[in-house]
């Protein structure tokens, strides 16, 4: 086995535009579920809205990259309103059902050939980073940056810096919100919305605001992902939603840095397993074929999720005291 390349690939996985994108989406889930108690199983849909909103704005409507990104965010606000207005007055479980369905409907709409000129159907969309001017806006001169496994060319560096800035702003925003009286109301709603209502707070409005903010984080995740890869309907699938949930619960749902660190741990672990499992199979240590070994990691992810929820429901970074009271 080539331990050197396995280690190298794993370490390189620590900082990629993809991880930053997933961390953003997980942060959105933290707003939704960890703080407001909203069961959103359609976070992949929010990411798709952001990514497609950006790409379509640039490719079909000829907007510059930054305006396209703003359009992607605006589209996610509309998406949140469409789902929230009918369901936020109902019990929490209904939002879960509606979000999972809405995300699937959306993905199928992007996939269908009916709108191929706009959505690119199964091929997805590409080339928007060049035509929209995102690539051109790169402030870094041509060259290699960093060292060891973290060596990047100027393009990847620009994507990383862009993603890091967006992630830092989102994290800061979430922190500022949750330490404020607004955050107190939202956490109160998570615990018992009737009690909060009885104190004269407009629960529906707060839930809607939380849904929109988390949704915008999700859309930003989609946009950051779109800066580094093509926009493809195969990415925004329900299993992505569940990976994001795993990362969230791993880090700690009701924490600020938990979602970010959880995402990093989760996807680095994924990168590690992707590398090591086939290698183990090849060298005969695992009694399975290489292809089976690759799918084995999904089994391990599932088991990992179960173990976290059972033995450490507050996540790695959650408040220890909460552990005692998780219902």
């Amino acid at each position: 086995m080539d331990w050197g390349s396995i280690l190298n690939n794993t370490l390189a996985g620590l900082l990629t535009p993809t991880i930053l994108a997933f961390a953003l989406a997980t942060l959105g889930l933290a707003m939704h579920f960890g703080f407001a108690g909203l069961l959103n199983f359609g976070i992949a849909g929010f990411m798709a809205v952001g990514a497609y909103g950006y790409a379509i704005s640039v490719l079909t409507f000829g907007l510059p990259w930054w305006a396209g990104m703003i359009m992607g965010v605006a589209a996610s606000v509309v998406f949140a309103l469409i789902m929230g207005i009918p369901t936020l007055r109902l019990r929490g479980d209904y939002l879960a059902i509606v979000t999972i369905a809405a995300a699937e409907i959306l993905r199928l709409l992007f996939l269908t050939t009916a709108f191929e000129p706009v959505t690119g159907s199964a091929d997805g969309l590409f080339g928007y980073n060049n035509s929209g001017g995102f690539a051109e806006a790169n402030p870094f001169p041509v060259g290699d940056y960093g060292w060891g496994p973290w060596t990047y060319n100027e393009q990847t560096l620009w994507m990383l810096v862009f993603g890091l800035i967006v992630l830092a702003v989102a994290t800061l925003l979430l922190w500022a919100l949750m330490r404020s009286p607004w955050g107190r109301v939202v956490k109160g709603i998570r615990e018992d919305e009737d009690a909060v209502r009885a104190l004269g707070k407009n629960v529906f409005a707060y839930k809607m605001q939380a849904l929109i903010i988390g949704g915008v984080f999700g859309a930003l995740g989609g946009i950051v992902l779109a800066t580094s890869t093509n926009v493809s309907p195969g990415v925004y699938v329900t299993s992505l939603t569940f990976f994001l949930w795993t990362a969230l619960l791993l880090g700690g749902a009701a924490t600020i840095f938990g979602p970010v660190l959880g995402s990093i741990i989760f996807w680095v672990l994924q990168a590690f397993l992707t590398n090591i499992l086939p290698a183990l199979a090849e060298s005969g240590i695992l009694p399975v074929s290489g292809i089976q070994a690759a799918t084995l990691r999904y089994v391990l992810v599932g088991i990992g999720l179960m173990l976290i929820v059972i033995y450490r429901p507050q996540g790695i970074f959650g408040d220890k005291r909460e552990m005692t009271f998780v219902k």
Binding site: P181, G188, G200, Q209, F325, K327
Partner: protein, 296 residues
């Protein structure tokens, strides 16, 4: 002690003979033909009821009489089949619960609703109304709300001390005992500076020594100008602090009056003390009469 509290009693609240639906001199809440049924069961059927302002009114009645349901209806947590009611002259039918609370009609719940994973102090601060920092945009700028938040903290600590919860301020509400949660919920409701506070069994599960001090506290609320409406099964508490007592049975108001007189009414004695098992409470509502006559 008792003579002391007797002197605090408000009298002369009603006009004319004390009977169900009697007019009040200065009503804060006026209820007209409010009806609510669950399937075939009529849980609440109140023709006319007025709650006197600035007094402590007790709402009593056997289990399932419809007291909690009436609370739910009046505070917008449930919608009646028919009926209208007004709070300080403003029509409240169809108004959503948070708006009702905003107007100053604040309730607590029979099944306590502590916000478990918030600390006791956070629970309290959440209660306060008109917080600048609760608006989304303001919340990002602490200099806009820090001062108000600190003031709220002082106010919250004062109340917590009175409710003997100050030592628990940094604990999660989930770690409180059942009785402590009742106290926290009541204290939290008071953080809203209510005009009318509606307490659903505030003393259930609270130990006698603390009950005594809380009774004093409720009496103080009246002194501060608040109106109190509470549901309670503890007749000592009712007798001790209530200025007016409303008795419900099977969804209807069957008696009302000053505590000493109402408590002597046969129907009420039957409902609570079970002293005269031969007269069923149903007689009062006029339902069982027919059956018992048939039986003769």
């Amino acid at each position: 002690m008792s003579s002391n509290s007797e002197s605090q009693k408000s009298t002369g609240l009603h006009i004319g003979v004390a009977a169900p639906g009697v007019k009040k001199v200065d009503p804060i809440l006026v209820i007209d033909s409010v009806k609510k049924s669950f399937g075939g069961l009529t849980a609440v059927d109140v023709e006319h009821l007025e709650i006197p302002r600035g007094a402590i009114t007790a709402l009593i009645g056997p289990n399932g009489a419809g007291k909690t349901t009436l609370f739910n209806l009046l505070t917008g947590f449930d919608n009646p089949d028919t009926g209208a009611w007004s709070f300080e002259g403003k029509q409240l039918a169809g108004i959503s619960s948070f708006k009702v609370a905003k107007m100053g009609q604040v309730r607590t719940f029979q099944l306590t609703k502590a916000l478990s994973l918030l600390t006791v102090l956070e629970n309290m601060k959440l209660g306060a109304k008109n917080q600048t920092g609760e608006k989304l945009l303001n919340s990002l700028f602490p200099f806009l709300w820090r001062k108000q938040d600190n003031e709220l903290e002082v106010k919250a600590m004062e109340l917590l001390r009175r409710f003997k919860l100050d030592a628990k301020k940094d604990d999660f509400a989930a770690s409180l005992s059942g009785g402590q949660r009742k106290l926290l919920e009541m204290a939290r409701a008071l953080m809203t500076d209510p005009v009318l506070v509606m307490l659903d069994e505030p003393m259930a599960g609270v130990n006698p020594a603390l009950t005594q001090s809380l009774l004093e506290h409720v009496l103080n609320l009246k002194k501060e100008g608040m109106t109190v409406l509470f549901v309670e099964h503890d007749m000592h508490m009712v007798r001790h602090i209530a200025d007016w007592v409303i008795v419900m049975a099977e969804g209807k108001v069957v008696a009302e009056g000053a505590p000493d007189t109402v408590m002597k009414e046969q129907a009420v004695i039957d409902a609570y003390l079970g002293a005269h098992q031969d007269t069923d409470l149903g007689v009062v509502t006029g339902r069982i009469k027919v059956i018992s006559e048939e039986g003769k």
